[in-house]
Amino acid sequence: MKKLILGLAAAVVAAAAVPAVAQDKIKACFLYVGSKTDGGWTQAHDVGRQQVDKELGDKVETSFLENVAEGPDAERAIERLARSGCAIIFTTSFGFMDQTVAVAAKFPDVKFEHATGYKTAPNLTTYNSRFYEGRYIIGQIAAKMSKTGVAGYIASFPIPEVVQGINAFVLGAQTINPDFKLKVIWVNTWFDAGKEADAAKALIDQGVDMLTQHTDSTGPMQVAEERGIKAFGQAFDQIQAGPTAQLTAIVDTWGPYYVKRIKMVLDGTWKGGESSWDGLAEGILTMAPYTNMPDDVKAMAMETEAKIKSGELKPFTGPITKQDGTVWLKEGETADDATLLGLNFYVKGVDDKLPQ
C-alpha cells in the first residue's frame, strides 16, 4: 500500500513536471494559405520554419496549420493557434490581415506577425519582402537575352505587390533596351498550373521569348522548357521544372527573419506595432544561381544585385514616366514606401491596361 501511494505521488510529480519542462520551450506557430509542399510561396515559408527548428530547436517548438482559406475561416484557425499556447503566430498570407487584427485584439499576450499586410497593433507587426528588387534584376537579364524584345508576365491579382513587380521588371529591362515591351496576362488565381501553362502558351504564341510570373505553380516554367524559351522562377528555385529554361529565380528566404524575430521574443526585445520591409540586402530575398546565360549577362546581373544590396541602386528612382505619359518621378527622385505599398498604375512600356 505504501509503495502504491509512493508510486502515485511519483506519478503526480512527474505529471506536474512535464508542463514545467514544456514551458521552458516557447511555441512558435505558422498559418499557411497553401500546402507546405506547394513548390512555391507556402513551401518557402515552411523552409523558414524548419530553419527555426534547426537553429532554435532547444528553446522553441514550432507548429503550423496549412491549407487555411483566406477570409472568415482564417479567424477561427488563428484563434485556435492562440488558444493552444503559441507565444508568437506568423500568418503568412495577405488575405489573413483582418482576421489577424481581430484575433490579436482578443489575445493581447500573444504576439502576432502578419506577412505582406499593412495593419499593425500593439501586439501585431507586419513583415514583407522587397520582391521588386529581384524583378528589376530579371528585367535587365530579360532585355539582354531577348531576341524579340518582348517579355511575357503571368500575373495573379492587381494588388500593389504585383504591380510593383511588373513596373520594376519593365524599369530594369528599359535600362538595357529602352523600347523593351511587356505583355501581361492576369489569370486571376494564385495557383492553377493548367491555366498558368495556358497563359504561358498564349504569350509565347504571340512572340514573347522571355517569361516571368507572379503566380505560384511551375506550370509556366515547364512550358518554357518545352517550347525552348527562357523563364524566371518565382518564390522558389524552380530549376527542376526548367533545367535549361530557368535563368534565375527570385527566392523568398524567410528563415533568417523568423529566427531573428523568435530570438527577440525569447530575450524580451520583441515590440509590436512595427512594420519591416526588407530586401536583398537583409537576405529575406535571394537570387537562385544565374544559369543558362552568357558570362557577360551573368556579370551584369551580379553587379546590379550588388548595387541594390549596397543601397547604391534603388529600382524606383526617377526619371520615371507613367503609362499615360505623365511624369511620376523626376530625375533623382526616389519613390517612398507609402507610394509603393499603394502602387496602382503602370510605368511606360507595359503593353496592358491595369485592371482596377
Partner: protein, 306 residues
C-alpha cells in the same frame, strides 16, 4: 507551327480533361446517381497517375494507375450511396474533400520531382500537313481516347440494349427493379466508369497538360465538368461542344489579354463560364426535350422494398 494551329492545339489540351470527366459523370447521372465527387476522383487520378509514371518510369502505366485510382476511389462512394443508401450529395461532397486531402498526403514526396510526359503521336508525313496535321495526327493519345470515349458512350447509351436498360434505371429505378433489372449492380458499374473517367482526366492533367504533381492541381475542373453535364442536358455531343467552347473561350481570353486590348481581365476571366452556360442553355431551350433527357431518379437513393 503557325499561331492558329498552336492555339487550336492548346484548346484541345484544355478541353480534353473536362470532356473526359464530364462524359464519365454523364453515364453516372444517366443511371440516376449524382456523384459530386468528380473533383476528388480527378485529383486522385492525377496523383496516382503521376506516382505510377514516376515509380515505373512508364507514362502509360501512369495512365492506367490514374484510371484504377479513380475507379477504386469511386467504389467508396458506390458502397456508401448504393449499398447502404447514404445521401448522394453529402457523400459526393465528402468524396471531393477526402480526395483533395488524401492526394496531398500521397503526393507529398512527389512535389517538385520532374514529371514523365506522355508523348504526342508523330506520324511521319501526316503529322506534318500544314494547319491540320498536328491537330488530327499529332496530339497526345488521351485526346484521341476522349473523342472515342464520347462516340462510344453515345453509341452505348442510345444504340444498345444495355444502354437503354441503364437509362431506364436512371428514369425510374422502382420500375426497373420490378422488371427484374439488377439496379444496384448497374449503378455500381456506372459509378465505377465515372470514377475511371475522372481518374483518366486527372492523369491527363499530371502527365500531359502540366506534367508535374502539385496539391489541388485540378483547381476546380471537376466542378466545371459537373456543370457541363447539367447544362448539356445529359447529351454527350453537347458535353463535347461545351467542353471545347469552354476551352476555346479560356484560351481566347488569354490571347485577348496578351494582345493588350484593354478589356478588363476580370470580365475576360469570367467569359468562359458565361459563354458556356449561355450557349448550352440556348441549345437546350426545348423544355420538353430537356425534361425527357433529365434522369428522373437522379440523386434519389434506391432501397429495394422486396
Amino acid at each position: 507551327m503557325g499561331i492558329a494551329e498552336s492555339i487550336l492545339l492548346t484548346i484541345a489540351t484544355a478541353a480534353t480533361p473536362l470532356l473526359i470527366a464530364a462524359i464519365g459523370e454523364l453515364v453516372v447521372e444517366r443511371a440516376g446517381v449524382l456523384n459530386l465527387g468528380v473533383e476528388g476522383m480527378m485529383v486522385m487520378g492525377a496523383v496516382c497517375g503521376f506516382a505510377g509514371a514516376t515509380v515505373t518510369g512508364s507514362p502509360w502505366l501512369g495512365v492506367l494507375a490514374g484510371i484504377a485510382a479513380g475507379a477504386a476511389f469511386s467504389l467508396l462512394f458506390a458502397f456508401l450511396t448504393l449499398s447502404i443508401a447514404a445521401n448522394q450529395v453529402a457523400t459526393g461532397l465528402s468524396l471531393t474533400l477526402l480526395g483533395l486531402g488524401l492526394s496531398g498526403m500521397i503526393g507529398e514526396s512527389f512535389v517538385g520531382t520532374a514529371g514523365n510526359k506522355l508523348s504526342s503521336l508523330a506520324i511521319p508525313g501526316l503529322s506534318d500537313i500544314p494547319l491540320v496535321g498536328r491537330l488530327m495526327f499529332g496530339q497526345d493519345p488521351i485526346f484521341y481516347l476522349s473523342i472515342l470515349l464520347t462516340i462510344g458512350v453515345m453509341w452505348f447509351l442510345f444504340r444498345t440494349r444495355t444502354g437503354l436498360t441503364l437509362r431506364s434505371i436512371g428514369d425510374n429505378h422502382g420500375s426497373a427493379h420490378a422488371l427484374g433489372i439488377p439496379v444496384i449492380f448497374y449503378r455500381y458499374l456506372a459509378v465505377m466508369f465515372g470514377g475511371a473517367c475522372a481518374g483518366l482526366a486527372g492523369a491527363h492533367l499530371s502527365l500531359v497538360y502540366t506534367p508535374q504533381w502539385v496539391e489541388n492541381m485540378t483547381a476546380g475542373r471537376g466542378w466545371i465538368a459537373l456543370a457541363l453535364v447539367v447544362f448539356a442536358s445529359w447529351r454527350p455531343l453537347r458535353v463535347l461542344a461545351g467542353a471545347y467552347l469552354f476551352g476555346a473561350v479560356t484560351i481566347g481570353q488569354l490571347h485577348a489579354q496578351a494582345l493588350g486590348l484593354g478589356i478588363p481581365s476580370q470580365l475576360l476571366s469570367s467569359l468562359p463560364y458565361l459563354a458556356t452556360v449561355v450557349v448550352l442553355v440556348i441549345i437546350s431551350r426545348n423544355r420538353r426535350l430537356t425534361m425527357m433527357n433529365t434522369p428522373a431518379s437522379l440523386g434519389r437513393a434506391f432501397v429495394p422494398d422486396r
